[in-house]
């Protein structure tokens, strides 16, 4: 198998320094929604200037380069052990080049490893073998500020009046957006998973964030709820950075998993406006990025 360390390093650099076009486009539309001279509009203008500058200078969009979360779908015959080694080598080099901040801290000693490695789960890598000859590696950098405002609800929830149906899911998600205020670096993108156990539910809520901004949900019921939630979240008036304004959420992405009869989880992963996700596709020895 081919050594992809150099290609993965470029994937990390792109993710950390070059915001995907669909996210930038969405932020540009949001600026026009905010009143001229308002703090919310000022925040979005600063954000866009920063996106431009980061791309030009190859410097991190946000200093919190987050948890590097890799999803790898590989053909039969690839060694996941070697792929993990290559991912780790790329992450170490990306840290040395200041594309990534050293972000991996031992939870017991408080010591920062200095190179973004640590234990079996940092960086976070998920492998899946797929049919065909194409390897796809997706990377998301998810910062701590937005990760901290993620929330999981177990329905029914009496305080919210939320039952075990989509109407209840709606209430849980709106509550999470309200609780987050501007602390997840709004305007945010919501990844919502319905069902699963606590672990798989959160996992799926992150995975669904890999969808493009304008990619509608294949399930018409969820597609409608995604639209409604984005619209209603924006009625809350929290605005960019929590300064007040019309743009609190840029997009909502939902997915669903089977659940136990006893459980009904709603997991909300909040992604900050610095929605750093990039994809690398390997085929016949050549690599493409998007």
């Amino acid at each position: 198998m081919q050594d992809l360390t150099v290609e993965i390093l470029e994937l990390v650099r792109l993710a950390a320094t070059d915001l995907p076009p669909d996210v930038e486009e969405s932020l540009r539309k949001a600026v026009e929604q905010e009143a001229p001279g308002s703090p919310g509009r000022g925040a979005l203008e600063t954000i866009l200037a920063n996106v431009e500058l980061s791309r030009q200078n190859s410097t991190p969009i946000c200093q919190d380069t987050g948890t590097p979360i890799f999803y790898v779908r590989h053909p039969e015959g690839w060694s996941t052990r070697k792929l993990r080694q290559q991912i780790e080598a790329a992450v170490v080099e990306a840290t040395r080049r200041a594309y990534l901040r050293p972000n991996s801290v031992d939870s017991l000693s408080g010591k920062n490893s200095g190179n973004n490695l640590g234990g079996d789960h940092f960086p976070s890598v998920h492998f899946e073998e797929v049919e065909g000859e194409t390897l796809v590696m997706e990377l998301m950098l998810k910062g701590g500020g937005c990760e901290n405002v993620g929330a999981q609800y177990s329905l029914p929830n009496a305080a919210l009046g939320a039952g075990r149906d989509l109407a209840g899911v709606r209430k849980a998600v709106l509550d999470a957006v309200h609780k987050a205020q501007g602390q997840g670096c709004s305007p945010g993108i919501l990844g919502v998973a319905i069902g699963g156990d606590r672990g798989t539910s959160y996992y799926a809520s992150k995975e669904t964030l890999f969808r493009k901004m304008d990619e509608a949900n294949p399930n018409p019921e969820l597609a409608a709820l995604e639209e409604q939630l984005t619209d209603e979240a924006n009625q809350l008036g929290i605005g960019p950075m929590g300064f007040g304004g019309k743009t609190t959420v840029l997009s909502t992405k939902m997915t669903h998993l089977n659940r136990l009869p006893a459980s009904f989880f709603v997991s909300v992963s909040y992604m900050c406006w610095a929605y750093r996700r990039r994809k690398m596709t390997w085929q016949n020895g050549t690599v493409q990025y998007e």
Binding site: P39, G42, A43, T46, I47, A49, N50, L53, S54, N57, T59, P60, I61, C62, Q63, D64, T65, A98, L100, R101, P102, N103, V105, G110, K111, N112, G114, G143, G144, G145, N148, L160, G161, K171, L174, D175, H178, Q181, G182, Q183, C185, E232, Q235, L236, G237, I238, G239, M241, G242, F243, G244, C272, W273, A274
Partner: protein, 206 residues
Amino acid sequence: MRKIQLPFSDDVILDLKVGDPIALSGVMVTGRDTVHKWMIDTFIKKTRPAQGDDLEVYQAILPLLRGSAIYHCGPVVAGLESQDYRFVAAGPTTSTREEPYQGDVMHHFKIQGVIGKGGMGPKTLAACQQVPGVYLHAIGGAASLIAQTVTRVLGVYKLDFGVPEAMWVIEVVDFPAVVTMDAHGGSLHAEIEQKSKAVLQELLAK
């Protein structure tokens, strides 16, 4: 945008109101989770004995913090190997985690500006009225842009806390922020929280 030179004066602080955009110049110090806990445990509540270079660092930061600003920031720093430090990305981190500590730290060190993102709660707001001080909101995620206002890294303390958690002494020119909590009890965060809560109740009732 109002230009302000660090250290602050009480007059300048008292003149600042929620919503004012400002540009800060002068020397400030970064400090976040580990630093705040270390300050409280070692020098304020004294539940942990000073050890290593603690006292030396304490003496060094006292004059730097007095009348100046603490910046909730864990930067990306280049030149770590050569010690020729340069800030590459330096936006604010979420401030609310320092809410249990910030008011006491402001009083102890006479800090008059707290810079971060997301706002803080009643304890810090009370300290802003007493010290007096302000909370300055920087734009979260605008890390490359803010790093350009850091003209020099003058030094670093407690690098053993890790790069993001160390205290970096930096000189800034026209560092952009918005006053979101002032010395008169005003808080944009409390206001937005209340207003959005009312809308949420309406939406939940539907």
